[in-house]
């Protein structure tokens, strides 16, 4: 006989194979040395990489904020357009996501290079060439470009549910545009905002491809350092696992802080 419990078994198996076991392995590697002895040295070794960790978090925060600022009006405009325009705009938004992530980032390299497309165009009107690549700005640009849809989509999906007559009621009661956004649209979009922030922040803080391709080696992020522990000359999966673990704990901590803040906000408003 099939009970609800029995129905849950496939999911439980899935979770064990793809979440619990890998997590256990990461923790196991992080807490041992190459001889298999328990140790906290790997965790303490993180202190050498504090500046990289800090930079990763800073870049991710900046990218997330820029995404939010860009996505909020975009999502609102999409959510208020006609049904046909809505689906067209959403598809247009997703088309770049169907192109390989590496390819998309390569494309930015050829655009931003000293003799890339943008500098060539600027040269035509007698400007430049500018240093557009291999700096922190290019890395953040890469993050914003790649992860912006992850902010727009959840925002759009909550905004499209806001009843037009609620917006009209706010105007009717005297709200100008700024007040309408601040007092009605923003609070009603809160669930989409928190989902979007997580969806942009988490991949941004752990990326290594974007920083490697657009950062020029001087803007390594924690993701690059972790990746090197598994594939580079400095092969050390124990240190790599410790870094991954610390990063994960920091992300979880920030998310829970943020959620706390978010849910309090809801009550106050």
């Amino acid at each position: 006989m099939k009970t609800p419990r029995a129905l849950a078994i496939p999911y439980a198996v899935w979770v064990v194979i793809f979440t619990v076991v890998p997590l256990g392995l990461v923790i196991g590697f992080a807490m041992t040395d190459p001889d298999g002895k328990l140790t906290l040295d790997n965790i303490f070794a993180m202190s050498d990489y504090m500046s990289v960790l800090f930079r990763s978090i800073l870049f991710a925060i900046i990218a997330t904020v820029i995404c939010l600022i860009l996505a909020f009006p975009a999502a609102y405009i999409i959510s208020r357009s006609s049904a046909i325009n809505q689906s067209t705009l959403i598809v247009l938004l997703m088309v770049p996501m169907w192109i390989n992530f590496l390819l998309r980032t390569y494309a930015w390299m050829t655009l931003l290079e000293p003799n890339g497309l943008i500098n060539k165009l600027l040269g035509l009107i007698g400007l430049g060439p500018y240093n557009l690549i291999n700096n922190s700005g290019a890395v953040i640009l890469g993050m914003v470009y790649n992860y912006l849809p992850f902010m727009i989509l959840p925002l759009y999906s909550v905004m499209v549910k806001i009843d037009q007559s609620v917006i009209e009621a706010a105007q009717d009661l005297g709200s100008n545009k700024a007040r309408l956004v601040r007092k009605v649209i923003f609070p009603l979009s809160m669930p989409g905002i928190s989902t979007g922030i997580i969806a942009v922040f988490v991949p941004s803080v752990s990326t290594f491809i974007i920083s490697r391709m657009l950062g020029g080696g001087t803007n390594d992020l924690i993701g690059d350092i972790i990746e090197m522990q598994f594939s580079g000359n400095s092969y050390n999966p124990h240190l790599g696992s410790a870094m991954a673990l610390v990063l994960m704990i920091i992300v979880l901590f920030m998310m829970s802080l943020f959620n706390q803040f978010g849910s309090e906000e809801d009550v106050v408003l």
Partner: protein, 348 residues
């Protein structure tokens, strides 16, 4: 002393090339209860949205106290709206919903608390300040929507079928309360409904609309007793509408007979609609009746009987205090004052 507060001049509204409002002109008298009445889709909501600032006119003017406010955005207009679907703010509790407009006016918190309190009392919802919107019934949400609009002390309140979602008993109660509020607060109400009974019982002025055009503007008595055309007569209460021919002034032929009437000014032998209210027909014996017919069915309506009588194929609706046998042949009489002659409307 009558003072026009809102004046709509030649309003035309088009959606996708289709004319929704066809040249509507309407004067709203200050402190009156004005009702826009008409079947669904006739343009009542659109008319209200023009006044509220949410719909644009292709052409036409809108004056508020003599000032053209056609291009004024909604948040700057001295009108407030009670929306069809209440449109309360789901993220705010009841107190904050009602206080919303007052906070924009930057009133002192003490004043806000006092006014919100007054409003909750007015709509009979004291003690609900902290409750969430979702915990309220439809009727309660409607009261909060009314309070949220009235707390701003607008000159004009727009109400779009505010009682449409309520059950009959609650609707009757709210009709009385709304009328009381309107009279106590001395605010102009522009009220939209498709319910003719609601319109007749609540209004000072009724505006009957059809297909984006105004059919008649008048007091409920005018509209009921002197309908301008067959559409109004039929929409306002039940009517018998019979094809007739106006031979000359004061003489009309219908149901195969000539009748003396009180109307004049038609073309000789003009085809007309003859409108007779069911309660204006007197049942007499067969030999004394101008029109003779067979009773097809009879229903007891509490105060009177309502019967359907077939005479020469036309089914007459008649109200009478005395009952008749189904199948019996009766006579019907009508006095000249109760025969209303109308031009055939071109729209049909």
């Amino acid at each position: 002393m009558e003072n026009t507060i809102i004046s709509l001049r030649n309003a035309v509204v088009e959606y996708d090339g289709e004319k929704i409002l066809k040249n509507i002109s309407l004067d709203i008298i200050d402190k009156q209860f004005v009702t826009l009445l008409g079947p669904s889709g006739c343009g009542k909501t659109t008319t209200l949205r023009i006044i509220g600032g949410f719909a644009e006119m292709a052409s036409g003017e809108l004056f508020f106290n003599g000032v053209n406010i056609k291009n004024l955005p909604p948040h700057k207009r001295q009108v407030n709206t009670v929306f069809q679907k209440y449109a309360l703010f789901p993220h705010l509790n009841i107190y904050e919903n009602i206080a919303f407009g007052l906070r924009i006016k930057k009133l002192h918190e003490d004043e806000i608390r006092k006014r919100v309190g007054e409003m909750l009392e007015l709509v009979n919802m004291q003690g609900y300040e902290k409750r969430s919107i979702n915990s309220l019934s439809g009727g309660q949400q409607q009261r909060i929507a009314i309070a949220r609009a009235l707390v701003n002390r607008p000159k004009v309140l727009l109400l779009d079928e505010p009682l449409g979602a309520l059950d009959l008993k609650l609707r009757k109660e709210m009709q009385i309360e709304l009328k009381r509020m309107q009279q106590d607060l001395e605010i102009t109400f522009i009220y939209v409904t498709h319910d003719q009974e609601e319109a007749l019982t609540m209004s000072d002025t009724v505006v009957v609309m059809k297909d984006g055009m105004i059919q008649q503007i008048g007091t409920p008595q005018d509209i009921y007793n002197e309908p301008k055309n067959a559409f109004v007569a039929d929409f306002i209460g039940e009517s018998n509408i019979i094809d007739g021919v106006m031979h000359k002034d004061f003489l009309v032929e219908f149901a195969g007979k000539n009748f003396v009437c009180v109307d004049k000014g038609f073309e000789p032998d003009e085809p007309v609609d003859v409108v007779i209210r069911p309660e204006d027909i007197k049942v007499v014996t067969q030999d004394k009746g101008a029109i003779v017919g067979v009773v097809e069915n009879i229903v007891f309506k509490g105060v009177h009987y309502e019967m359907t009588v077939d005479a020469l194929g036309y089914k007459w609706i008649i109200q009478s205090t005395q009952s008749e046998e189904v199948g019996s042949v009766i006579g019907m009489n009508v006095t000249p004052e109760d025969i209303h002659i109308m031009h055939k409307s071109e729209a049909e």
